[in-house]
Structure formats: structure tokens, C-alpha cells
Symmetry: C2
DNA sequence: TCCACATTCCAATAGTTATTAGAATATGAG
DNA sequence: CTCATATTCTAATAACTATTGGAATGTGGA
């Protein structure tokens, strides 16, 4: 076998990962799976996609072994097949933010209304949360909170936020986070909290960004 | 604009990076560009691709701003548009190696004949090279050596190796490296050196893997 | 056993991407 | 200015991918 043929085989394999990451829908599925395992049905519901289309995209991801499955009764739960997958997702997203001006602009417009806390604040955020100076809320669904959350965070899903405002202190700053920079749930939460008179801000990072930075994650 | 539409826009942008990385040919071009800037013609020659096809693939990469151009007379030199691009390439390759069994098998078969030095040896390799206990040779073309090389390495391009064997010591171990794990030049060099009676082995990593690990790189 | 439901498979179609060849553009040399 | 050369553009075709709808498979519960 000549060298060109060998190289072609190597790069063809490598490109399989690129192909897996070349579809907006598959990227969205990967981000959701990075929050914890989910059934096909749950993914279809969360993304608004047809169930059979979700299944087809998951099949593509499974063929690259970026995701794994686990059967539980009639449900099949998909999950990322290693800690390197969310890390790849993050490296990928950061490269996109660095190079695609269009993406940066779109992101800035989305997050413009909320003061976004950035990387520098991670350590001090943890300190202040530990001392009780601020309250950190995880506005994702409970199942995602249970699969992994910031150590000092309290679960308060966006869907229940309006009904459970009494649980929040009016005299302290509230920091909301969700799935990561592309997730808009914490923006919504901040908007609602401010309308109700709370002092609220958004933490741009999610659990995976936190973990990738070497910080601890807790499970319930 | 509703939330679904906003998300679709974000993931569509993100997928542009995935699409850029979804073609074996573009991945090969990126790896070559990670060794230093190159003209379209040079890339066509190195990959055996039609010049016009190379140009088309480079256009796709330029549109994601993963590569940049610089005009020099009649030539247009392409280069990676930031240090994060080789880092992304490495994260990408590592994920592929972790998840695609087929890729791992193919790689092991290719490198089976040469003892490959692994990550653990980096520090000690540098020590031994500094003390002169071993000789590290960079078998890439001179222009790539000049664009960046390991601090203690000597340039000895594969094409000239057979003619310049006299420059190598017969009493010390020789370590050859090239563009990285997918590059077969150092394998060829090791094979030739052993046939001539030298004690030779391959360093799997290239300049970019070295730099990504935080180790120093020199330029001429 | 049969049913309900979650998921996958299959086949058809629309949409996108890769490749090729020929033509066009841009630059420096004479 | 004209020529040779490097690169890009355009248009055509082939190959691949996404999406849809209907049918099939596999599981747990009645």
C-alpha cells in the first residue's frame, strides 16, 4: 500500500468526526447530552425535532462513537461516551467564537441585556457563593441539575421560577446559569428576576465549561 | 424573533466550523498549514491534489476564517489564522483517536515497526538532547523547520537523509520527528537509518503537539 | 397472548458538497 | 504592452446528506 493511500485512510477516518460535527442539529443534540443522558423522545421534545430525525442524527453520532446508549425498559438513553467529548465541544465552540465574527455578533446581541460574568470571576464567584453573599441558581430542568451542577448552586428550573420567587432573597444578588453560552434559559431567568425587582445576573458558563476549567462539579 | 430561531442561527454558525473539518482533504491541508505557511501550488504538490481543487478547499477554509492569506508577488501564502487552530486540530485528532477504533488500528499498523516515544518521555527527551546523549532530527522540509522546530533539533530533511548520513553519529541514538502522528516521514527515516546500522526511533509528536503541551518552540 | 409505546429501519425526494474542466483575473518580468 | 505564471471563478456533473412518511422491531404491562 503506498503512502498516499495510507494517508487517505487516516484522514478519511478523521473526517468522520468532522462530519459528525457538521450539522447544526447534531451539535445541539451534543450540547444537550453534555448536560446528562437523555432519551430520544426527550431530545426530540427539547429540540422540537421530529423523533425519527433525532434518531437518525443519533445514529450518525453513534457511528463515530461520540455517544453511547443504555437501555432502560422501553427507553434508550443516549449519553456522551467520554469526558473528552464535552471538552472537544468546548474547544470547537471557542474556535468558532474566535473566528466567526457573525457568531460573536449574534451572541452579543442575545446576551446584551444581562451583565455576563466572565472567566476571571470564577474563583471569586465560588468564594462569594460559599459565604452566602450571593445566591447561585441552576435554571435547567431538575434531571440535568442532578446529573451534575456547580457545588454551591441551588436548583430552580426556569419553568418553576415564577411560582417559587419567594425562595429567593430580595437583599442579595442572584446569579443564574444554565447549559452554557448558547443556552438562553438563564437570560430569560435574569430578565424575569429583574422585572420582579431582584438584582440578577447571568453566568455565561455551564457545568461543562466549569469542569473543563478544572473546577469541581457535584452530583445529587 | 423566537428562541428556536435564535438557537438555529447560533448552531448554524457553529456548524460552519464542523463543515470545514468534515473533509479529509481540508484536514490534510490544515495539518500542512500547521507546519508553516504555504502557497496554493506547494499545497497541491504536497497533497497530490489538483491545484484548482486545493484552491476551492482553501476558499472554504477562508470563509470560516480558520486560515488567512498573505500575498507575496505572484504567490498567495495561506496560513492558519491563530494559535487556537492547531490546538483545535489536536483536540479533534485526539477525540478521533479516542473514539474511532478503526483509526487507532490503522495508526498502530503504520507505526508498528518503529519504537514510538510517547508523552511521558518529553521532559527526559529534552534533557538527553541537551546533554548530547541523543540526536534529534527534524526530517521535514527546511522551510517547515525554519517556521518552527523543537529547540534542540537539527534539520535533516528526509529527501536529503541518504546523502547526509555522514553527519549523524553512529554511537548515539537518533530520534526523528516530522509533522505529527499522521505524518509518515519520520517512519521512513527510522526505517532507512536502521537499515544503515543506526540506532533510531520515532517521536510521534510534531511541533504543534509540542507547543500545545506548553513546551518551547524555536524559529530560525 | 395482545397491546401500547419507544425506537429504528427503509425508501423516496430535496438539498448540498466535491470534483472536473475550461475560462478569467492578477501579478511581475521583459 | 505583452507574456508567463499563480490563483480564482464559473458551470456542469457526480456523490453524498438531510428530511419525510410509512412500516418494522423490541420492550413492558395487561
Amino acid at each position: 500500500m503506498n503512502i498516499r493511500t495510507k494517508k487517505d485512510l487516516l484522514y478519511e477516518q478523521l473526517a468522520r468526526i468532522g462530519k459528525a460535527l457538521s450539522s447544526p442539529k447534531r451539535l445541539e443534540l451534543l450540547e444537550l447530552l453534555a448536560q446528562g443522558e437523555k432519551s430520544v423522545e426527550a431530545l426530540a421534545h427539547l429540540t422540537g425535532m421530529d423523533l425519527r430525525l433525532v434518531s437518525a442524527h443519533l445514529k450518525a453520532l453513534r457511528q463515530t462513537r461520540l455517544v453511547d446508549t443504555r437501555r432502560d425498559g422501553r427507553y434508550i438513553h443516549y449519553r456522551l461516551s467520554g469526558q473528552d467529548v464535552p471538552r472537544l465541544w468546548i474547544a470547537f465552540r471557542e474556535a468558532a467564537e474566535n473566528h466567526l465574527i457573525e457568531l460573536r455578533i449574534a451572541l452579543e446581541q442575545l446576551a446584551a441585556h444581562a451583565d455576563t460574568l466572565v472567566g476571571e470571576d470564577r474563583e471569586s464567584l465560588m468564594q462569594r457563593a460559599r459565604k452566602g453573599e450571593i445566591v447561585v441558581i441552576d435554571v435547567r430542568p431538575v434531571s440535568e441539575f442532578e446529573a451534575g451542577h456547580l457545588p454551591f448552586a441551588r436548583s430552580l428550573p426556569l419553568a418553576e421560577l415564577e411560582l417559587r420567587l419567594a425562595e429567593l432573597p430580595a437583599d442579595r444578588a442572584i446569579v443564574a446559569y444554565c447549559r452554557g453560552p448558547f443556552c438562553l434559559m438563564s437570560d430569560e431567568a435574569v430578565e424575569m428576576l429583574r422585572a420582579k425587582g431582584f438584582e440578577a445576573s447571568k453566568l455565561r458558563e455551564g457545568v461543562n465549561e466549569w469542569a473543563a476549567a478544572g473546577l469541581p462539579i457535584e452530583q445529587s
